[in-house]
């Protein structure tokens, strides 16, 4: 078996999750199962609706941290391939924020790897988020859920 292909990207521009899925699938014909997770900026309505979201990264730590997470994910499950793409910068409703794809011979490995990677991306990656609503920009504090998610592993 060739070593698992790992592809980790921190992007400043919008990307197409379905195009990424097509390319990832084409690259892994040996995998029986592929799990993907797409997180996107929710389209909301009403006075509290988020009009834009900004993720700030820190070049010295954010991408290196994502690469370390990918390596930890690969080490923990038997994967044929792993893709992690994360946006930074300003995003608008409907824009993709994060896309994870895990290819594995066994379905369970693919599900667990994508789930694990997402829990850690959401709670431990070096991103600082602010949201713009009708009342202006506001920094977002961590959610208690993020910590609980980590305790699952």
């Amino acid at each position: 078996m060739a070593p698992a292909k790992t592809d980790v990207r921190l992007l400043g521009e919008v990307f197409s999750p379905s195009d990424e899925m097509a390319a990832f699938t084409a690259a892994h014909p040996e995998a029986g199962g592929i799990v993907t997770f797409l997180g996107q900026v929710r389209c909301e309505s009403g006075p509290g609706a988020v009009e834009a979201l900004e993720l700030k990264q820190y070049a010295a730590m954010t991408l290196p941290g994502m690469e370390a997470l990918a390596a930890a994910t690969r080490a923990r499950w038997v994967l044929d391939g792993l893709l992690i793409i994360h946006r930074h910068g300003v995003m608008h409703p409907g824009d993709p924020i994060v896309f994870v794809a895990a290819a594995a011979r066994h379905r369970r490995d693919a599900f667990a790897a994508a789930d694990f990677a997402m829990d850690h991306l959401k709670s431990q990656s070096w991103f600082w988020k602010r949201e713009k609503t009708a009342t202006g920009w506001r920094w977002i504090e961590p959610r208690p859920d993020d910590h609980r998610d980590l305790l699952r592993w």
Binding site: A60, M61, K122, S123, S125, F127, W128, W139, I140, P142
Partner: protein, 79 residues
């Protein structure tokens, strides 16, 4: 050549800039030269520090030398 402070998240808003060139030296001395309102925020207990990309356990004994980059990291808010 100077050392550099980097302010992430809300600390950038408080500092009014994302980066600040400072005279190298002990951290206490570097902070003492800043606006006291900013220095208090930088020393908040939930703010972590990273020197040249590596997290510090605490700031005790840090001495910045030329070319160092010291980042102040508020809690991350998730992707």
């Amino acid at each position: 050549m100077a050392a550099k402070l980097v302010f992430l998240g809300r600390l950038e808003d408080i500092a009014g800039t994302s980066e600040l060139a400072v005279v190298p030296g002990p951290l206490e001395q570097v902070l003492a030269a800043l606006d006291p309102a900013l220095a208090v925020q930088l020393l908040g207990e939930r703010v972590r520090m990273a020197l040249n990309g590596a997290l510090l356990g605490d700031g005790g004994g840090v001495v910045l030398v030329e070319g160092d980059e010291l980042a102040f990291l508020p809690p991350v808010s998730g992707g």
